[in-house]
């Protein structure tokens, strides 16, 4: 399988805390790749680095689209070469990049993401949320919109068409005009995925999409993700804690702990992998009877576990989706 995304030697630290240390993995085109790992392992940080929200200290993130290869890190955080110091255009570009953060370029390259904590435009309707997502695809000239030219109306109608098509697919057609903040939680999560889809991506990054969903909703979600892969030509990168979901739908699993990739391979291979069990449960032996449920902790009788030694955790634990992303050091 050809890789769509290559991440090599990605490193990132917050102050003295190394959040990522040389993370390397590839995401195959048209496959579902899952990133798993205990809390604080650095999964969300990987997402933030490859979508341009964080500037990684080192590493390469490459998106190999059919049209050509894009170096995402370079595109988002261009580094100034010594010979550019006297080049006004390069300096201006640098200043502009410093101000904008360049995250919009990642979306233009075809990567869309969702967040661990739902980030909807709560006071806007479902359709408006989806129209905002198509901002870069629609007619934006001021006079065209004010005069409602033919082209503008056609572009708006096309945007609505796309939005409604995704809503129908996800069974949220009836909610088109409801306020996003009024939706039940499960629907909000679904809407966030639809909104990401409306940016017309090739790679969809989902950060814990099943968190807080009930089993039925999780089922529907896994069907949806499979469908996106099979019928919509999408590649999916998934962070997930629900091991059932991961084991059932993913083609490839990357296990992260303490900012390092400790194992990767097929879901089946990961189930019994000693390093993985070590990271999750603090035990190095495969656990019997965990075949169906994968790595879910509840299938392991608690009494059979050795006492878990306290792990040396990084001292500061801030959820990045709550923390002010601007506050991170460049």
């Amino acid at each position: 399988m050809t890789p769509l995304l290559t991440v090599r030697d990605l490193s990132m630290h917050f102050g003295g805390v190394a959040a990522l240390q040389g993370v390397t993995f590839t995401v195959a085109r048209g496959a579902i790749t899952a990133i798993i790992g205990p809390n604080g392992a650095g999964k969300t940080t990987v997402f933030n680095c490859l979508t341009g929200f964080y500037a990684a200290a080192a590493g390469v993130v490459r998106l190999q689209r059919e049209e050509g290869e894009i170096d995402l890190m370079r595109a988002v955080h261009p580094t100034l070469q010594p010979r550019d110091y006297l080049n006004p255009r390069a300096l201006a570009r640098q200043a502009y990049g410093w101000m904008t953060g360049g995250t919009h370029k990642v979306v233009r390259a075809g990567v869309a993401r969702t967040f661990q904590n739902v980030r909807l435009f709560r006071d806007m309707t479902v359709l408006e949320n989806l129209l905002v997502a198509q901002h870069r695809l629609v007619e934006r000239r001021l006079w065209a919109g004010i005069l409602r030219t033919r082209e503008y109306l056609a572009a708006e109608a096309a945007a609505l068409d796309r939005a409604v098509a995704w809503l129908e697919l996800f069974g949220m057609f009836e909610d088109a005009n409801r306020l996003a903040g009024e939706l039940p939680y499960g629907q909000q999560r679904r809407l966030e995925i639809i909104r990401a889809l409306c940016t017309d991506p090739v790679l969809l990054c989902l950060d814990e999409p099943a968190a807080g969903l009930n089993p039925r909703e999780t089922q529907a979600l896994s069907r949806m993700i499979l469908r996106l892969r099979d019928h919509h030509d999408l590649t999916i990168l998934l962070i997930e804690h629900d091991m059932n979901l991961v084991m059932n739908i993913s083609d490839h699993v990357v296990v992260l702990d303490h900012g390092e990739v400790i194992a990767s391979g097929t879901p089946a291979a990961m189930q019994g992998h000693p390093a993985v069990l070590e990271a999750y449960l603090g035990v190095a032996e495969p656990v019997d009877g965990a075949s169906g449920g994968g790595l879910r902790e509840e299938v392991v009788p608690v009494s059979s576990l050795p006492p878990v030694p306290p792990k040396p955790r990084p001292p500061l634990i801030i959820d990045p989706s709550v923390a002010d992303i601007e506050a991170c050091p460049p």
């Binding site: 904008t100 980030r119 806007m124 905002v132 901002h135 129908e168 940016t199 989706s321």
Partner: protein, 415 residues
């Protein structure tokens, strides 16, 4: 609409016109007696009634199959309906009533109305920044000052006329808005409010202390607008022709106010229309999305910097135009007109009217300014009354007089 419903609708508007026009044009003060004349209000009401019926018949006609093709229909499976707050013709009635106000109002109240409309313009501008983009700007008065002084200084040093000053000052203020926007790009909430507050004060102090250029606290004269090259003053400047000489009529000192009022009204109507469209356009939705969640915006490919700056620039440009009107109406500018209190008042207009609601902002601007004048007798307690009104409003209607209307789409399933 059925015929009966149409009749009812028309009767409603006719009745309303009757009610409104009775005190306005039906009672005449005759010496010490008030005489009631029925024919004028009745004619007005009858006119509105028939006009409404005609307008509805016309709308009905346009819906008929042969004529329908004349109208541009979107080639989509989805029908998008936009339900404006008021149908177009009702806007027409409102505007007509507003445009005939100078005939009824005294010069004093006409000037009050001009100020109210200027506040409405400023409110619409600030509404973009605060209501839509969610950037709390406490120094909005700076752009108002830039517009007013831009006109006064421009006419003094560059010989700018009123009509050229309008776009010029809009651009100038937009530039100031962008300049302010850059340093505050990464700020939010309280920090942003403090910095913008400081910016407003800086501009005022500059105007106050730059005595050589701006005249300092003494201010500057601002010329009256011209109309098709004719001056509205009693004596024209060099080379100009005064209006009354040209038409050979007696000089009317009211004319300046009337012309400014009419131009301002036309501009406000245009602005209202444009802001309404902007809100429902990609840029307007992006402003709102930025207010709701900046990080989500960025994850959707929106360049939050340009979107933010465009909100600042657009708001500032509108503030600048408000300033030009203010200077032209007063005939004079000085820094005391641009204190923080003005910023607070404009913000109050926006909050009271309803964040994001253009209609609310205009209503609030009218209410605040008219109340302000009515309460002149209690001028010592005016701000107190005003503050209490704000508190009561916030309890009674936390989203403002008219809360913002979201755009709903009528979506139909694909066949």
């Amino acid at each position: 609409m059925s015929i009966a419903a149409s009749l009812k609708h028309a009767a409603r508007w006719g009745g309303l016109t009757l009610l409104l026009s009775l005190p306005l044009s039906g009672w005449m003060l005759n010496g010490y007696q008030v005489t009631t004349t029925w024919h004028r209000p009745l004619w007005l009401a009858g006119g509105v009634f028939v006009g409404t019926l005609l307008a509805m018949a016309l709308a009905r006609l346009l819906e008929m199959p042969p004529l329908r093709k004349l109208r541009w229909r979107m080639q989509t499976k989805i029908t998008v309906t936009r339900r404006p707050a008021l149908p177009a013709w009702e806007w027409g009635v409102l505007l007509t009533i507003a445009a005939t106000l100078p005939l009824w109002l005294s010069t004093y109240w006409l000037n009050v109305m001009i100020l109210a409309l200027i506040y409405a313009v400023l409110g619409l501008g600030l509404n973009i920044v605060v209501g839509l983009a969610g950037l709390l700007d406490l120094g909005y008065v700076a752009f108002y000052a830039v517009g007013a002084y831009g006109y006064a200084l421009g006419s003094q040093y560059l010989g700018l006329g009123f009509w050229t000053a309008l776009p010029f000052c809009a651009l100038l203020a937009a530039t100031f808005g962008t300049v302010l926007g850059f340093p505050v790009l990464r700020m939010r909430g309280d920090y942003l409010a403090i910095v913008t507050l400081g910016f407003g004060e800086i501009i005022r102090l500059l105007l106050n202390n730059g005595t050589e250029i701006t005249g300092g606290p003494n201010g500057l004269p601002a010329p009256a607008p011209t109309l098709f090259g004719l001056e509205l003053t009693r004596v024209a400047g060099q080379g100009g022709t005064p209006w009354h000489t040209f038409f050979n009529v007696t000089y009317n000192p009211n004319l300046r106010a009337v012309v400014i009022y009419m131009v301002l009204l036309a501009f406000l109507a245009l602005l209202f229309f444009c802001v309404g469209r902007l809100q429902r356009m990609p840029i307007g939705r992006a402003w709102e999305a930025l207010r709701e969640d900046e990080i989500a915006c960025r994850s959707l490919g929106i360049n939050h910097v340009t979107v933010k700056l465009s909100a600042f620039a657009m708001g500032a440009a509108i503030g600048g135009i408000g300033g030009v009107f203010f200077a032209a109406a007063q005939g004079f500018v000085n820094p005391t007109s641009f204190t923080f209190f003005e910023s607070a008042l404009i913000l109050a207009v926006v909050v009271l009217g309803g964040l994001g609601s253009s209609g609310g902002v205009v209503v609030a601007a009218l209410v605040i300014n008219i109340l302000h004048e009515l309460l002149r007798e209690f001028s010592d307690y005016r701000v107190l009354v005003f503050g209490m009104a704000m508190v009561v409003m916030m309890i009674w209607r936390p989203r403002g007089l008219l809360s913002m209307r979201r755009q709903f789409f009528a979506v139909g399933k694909n066949l």
